[in-house]
Amino acid sequence: MAKALSIGPATAAPTVARRSAVRWLSYAFFVAALLFAAVAAALGDVFFFRLATESLIFGGLALSVDLLLGRTGLLPLGQALFFGFGAYVSALTLKHLAPSLPLALAVVLASCTLVGLIGGLIAIRAKGVYFALISFGLAQVVSKIVFNTRELGASDGLIGVPAPVIHLGVANLDTAHAPTFFLLVLGGMALLLALLMRLMDTPFGRQLDAIRTNEHRLAFLGFDPWRYKLAAFVLAADIAALSGALYPMLRGFVSPELMFFQVSGNAVINVIVGGSGSFVGALYGSALLTALKSVVGSFTAHHAIVIGALFVVSVIFFPRGLVGYLAPALQRLWSRR
């Protein structure tokens, strides 16, 4: 099973036309998000703002999965490990150091790069399915340890995390203010998305696509795939952790559940349903599934079954995901005009 895991033609280095379709869908996402914000603000809503922010935060986690799965060809089943790590470190920083958003992000970035490096050194040696299982195992093991560590609040986690305020010269941005935080996180995700898309147009990013399509040949082209995979792993860990760092700012607490398999699994589902390899698909997937969970959740606690069923259907009948089918469809529409 040395073959790199891959999803399908939609994740190939896109032709020029498809790229503009994906780009258009990316703009559409943020435009839709801004429209949502306008409507929700007008209605004085708080609940949906927070829900949407949460979907964006988990969307960030899904982005990290897409970098690995959709582009590099590695299936991570334990990305929640880094998400939860970021959440805990952020919570501890905000509570015990200073309620500063930039500080929390900086501490998370620095610490997670180190942790990601260690995790990567362990996991990257493994190929294909072994990587998936090792990442799964790592997350299981660490989450269990955190669950049992009294200093970290054990099963209750950490509560009472203050929501930081960003002091800009002209104004203060209070993350406790739901619409403000939503826009902040939205901006962050937009930046992240732009950076990731730009990254894939650099020689480094293209190597990742090459690893996904034919890792074996790369050594003969003079490149050691191991280094690139490790770098991608650390980058993905950082993205997951930075997304997780935002969680305690939104909800005021963190708990070991954030590291559980459920979270890793949902991230993978978001990517597949949204369309792997496109990056924005991860955000669409997260939004779609958050909405679905919310709707189903109002009827029954058993939303997992609905999500699971949707996912199974998606894998069997629509493996390329939402963006994976919309983008070519848009392309065809445009070329007909």
Partner: protein, 294 residues
């Protein structure tokens, strides 16, 4: 010293053996499914849980434990067969088979877990051990149920071994694992063999669930924790190797069992996982070869 051996170490070894046998059954199912179908059954833990719940349900309607023990694997085999034909076969022939089957079984696992929650609730349930009391041997008392578990588990493992390596059926399955097309052209009904093998693997997981249910409690996420051990065993033993699953399964459960004398139970899984990582670094394909290839 002798006292320590007799009263501290020996019970742990016996404990480890009884759990080990069940772990081996589960790992066998997983490794056989991978060895033949090249499918990582991410839902294996959930099938294990379903086995325990099925037994619970059968006992609930009045059947004695022994009937539940005999019937559950058969039920599981049917479920497994249906799942393979209805779902897994659909993605089997795609180019991205490995990812898709992994994701598919992962999705199936999520559905199954929630189904269990719906059907039985989230609270842990218990099955009373069908055999109580203990037998005295070598100056120690061994719980009878554990003795039964070891004996019956060992019998099943031996049976699997015999079927796999000493019968025509086993030869057919191994041929199909080694070279699908060749086997098909030799008249082996490959699709049926695949579905049947998956069913068999799932039945083993279910059997493991029934056997362990009187020892551990039964709750919907029981599979999630247990499957990590099973995966570790399979990876260490070599994915697809029956011999590997047996040896690694027994050794690792012993390691866990004995180590619990010196370290807290919290570190038991990390220990196992650490061993797995080390083995993978030293021998990336596990200790032994692969079904059909070994």
């Amino acid at each position: 010293m002798l006292d320590w051996l007799q009263f501290v170490l020996a019970p742990q070894v016996v404990n480890g053996l009884s759990i080990g046998v069940a772990v081996v059954l589960m790992a066998l199912g997983l490794t056989i499914i991978f060895g033949l179908l090249d499918v990582i059954n991410m839902a294996h833990g959930e099938f294990y849980a379903i086995g325990a719940y099925a037994a619970l349900a059968l006992i609930g309607v009045g059947l004695p434990f022994w009937w539940a023990l005999a019937l559950t694997p058969l039920l599981m085999a049917v479920v497994g067969y249906a799942a393979e034909r209805a779902l897994i076969q659909r993605v089997f022939h795609s180019k991205d088979r490995h990812t898709l089957t992994l994701l598919l079984t992962f999705g199936i696992g999520i559905i199954l877990e929630d189904l269990l929650k719906i059907a039985f609730g989230a609270n842990p349930l218990r099955i009373e051990p069908p055999i109580t009391g203990a037998t005295e041997m070598f100056g120690l008392f061994f719980p009878n149920y554990r003795l039964f578990l070891m004996a019956s588990g060992a019998a099943v493992i031996a049976a699997v071994w015999v079927v796999a390596f000493r019968t025509r059926l086993g030869a057919m399955v191994r041929a199909a694992a080694f070279d699908r097309n060749m086997a098909a052209s030799l008249g082996v009904p490959v699709s049926t063999v695949y579905a049947g093998t998956f069913a068999f693997g799932v039945a083993l997981a279910g059997l493991s669930g029934v056997l362990l249910a009187p020892i551990y409690s039964v709750f919907p996420t029981m599979g999630r924790d247990f499957v990590l051990i099973a995966f570790s065993v399979v990876i260490i033993g070599g994915m697809g190797s029956i011999k590997g699953a047996v040896i690694a399964g027994l050794l690792l459960t012993q390691a866990q069992s004995i180590s619990s004398l010196v370290i807290s139970p919290v570190w038991s899984d990390p220990l196992l996982f650490g061993i797995m990582v080390l083995v993978l670094m030293w021998r990336p394909h596990g200790l032994f070869g692969r079904l059909g290839h070994g």
